[in-house]
């Protein structure tokens, strides 16, 4: 097995609060499963609110809680939608989303299985991200998508541009068994 890392992938976070959800995508057709992406994402968004309590007398705490809840929910939903769309469905290979809370960060890591071809296309997109100004690429992508009728890559670009998230990836290549891909999104809190 060989491993490629893009960005600052965080591997060590022992002792932190964490929430892990796993899915066996082959159990249900994508159409039937789709709404569960939103349910799971909203659950994660709600879950973190306990750690950012609101004081009804202080509007800033209310806004902060709503912003964090909205950001976690949006990002988790985008990660799950992408994973469900592009997962290489091999029996036993689960899709996993993990939320980790530290004093300074919220870390969402999505793991799924990709074919070698899917992984190569994903790496091409990541390299383009690394070599471009993310804001310019985002606006270009909005124009390109409007012409092509797609929404490709937009989820990751909104995370960077609209949510100030830091993204990183780890790809574990297995001989003749595709790639375990991890996409990590870090929000400063």
């Amino acid at each position: 097995m060989t491993c490629d890392i893009y960005g600052q992938f965080i591997d060590q976070h022992n002792g932190s609060e964490r929430l892990i959800l796993s899915f066996a995508p082959g159990l249900l057709p994508l159409q039937q499963r789709w709404r569960n992406n939103g349910l799971s994402a909203d659950f994660m968004g709600d879950y973190v609110t306990a750690f950012f309590p609101r004081d009804d007398a202080d509007p800033a705490t209310i806004q902060r809680q709503e912003e964090i809840k909205g950001a976690v929910s949006y990002i988790a939903n985008e990660l799950l939608e992408n994973a469900m769309k592009y997962h290489d469905d091999i029996p036993g290979e689960l899709i996993k989303i993990e939320l980790i809370l530290t004093a300074e960060q919220i870390i969402l890591t999505l793991t799924n299985h990709l074919s070698d071809e899917q992984a190569a296309a994903f790496v091409r997109f990541i390299r383009r991200l690394e070599q471009s100004d993310a804001d310019t690429l985002y606006m270009e992508q909005l124009e390109t998508n409007a012409m092509s009728g797609s929404s490709s890559g937009l989820g990751l670009l909104t995370m960077i541009n609209d949510y100030d998230a830091n993204l990183a990836w780890q790809f574990a290549h297995h001989k003749e068994r595709g790639v375990d891909a991890q996409t990590q999104v870090v929000l400063a809190v």
Binding site: L30, Q31, W34, R35, N37, G38, E66, E67, K69, G70, A71, S73, Y74, N77, E78, E81, K85, Y138, M139, L142, E143, N145, A146, G149, S150, S151, L154, G155, T158, N161, D162, Y163
Partner: protein
């Protein structure tokens, strides 16, 4: 009134007010599932008056939905519509983060975040 009702969302076009209201949670799968929404958005641009897109009650929108709104704004720009108004809510986090990009696509767009 022309409209679409989904499990957690509603999209309604009021032709007399030239206003399209979107509400609830919109997380459809890709541009194909958004086609009926796109159709209503295009219809809004054919109405007389000042077209208004009211998003104040749209709590969540996924990135495919953001692509749909961007496509709509680019369509308005291409048609030379100069009085398009998009209304959002300060209390809805995604709107304060992502709606400003619509104005970057079309600087003449009037964006009201209330």
């Amino acid at each position: 009134m022309n409209g679409i009702e989904g499990e957690n969302y509603a999209v309604n076009l009021d032709p007399t007010a030239a206003t399209l209201n979107m509400s609830g949670t919109l997380r459809l799968n890709g541009m194909d599932e958004y086609a009926p929404v796109s159709k209503l958005l295009s219809e809004l641009l054919t109405l007389p008056g000042s077209p208004t897109l009211d998003l104040t009650k749209l709590g969540f929108l996924n990135s495919s939905g953001i692509a749909v709104l961007s496509k709509f704004v680019i369509e308005a720009r291409t048609k030379g519509i100069e009085n398009l108004r998009v209304v959002g809510a300060q209390s809805v986090p995604w709107q304060t983060k992502s709606l400003r990009n619509l104005q970057r696509l079309m600087p003449a767009l009037q964006l009201d975040i209330q």
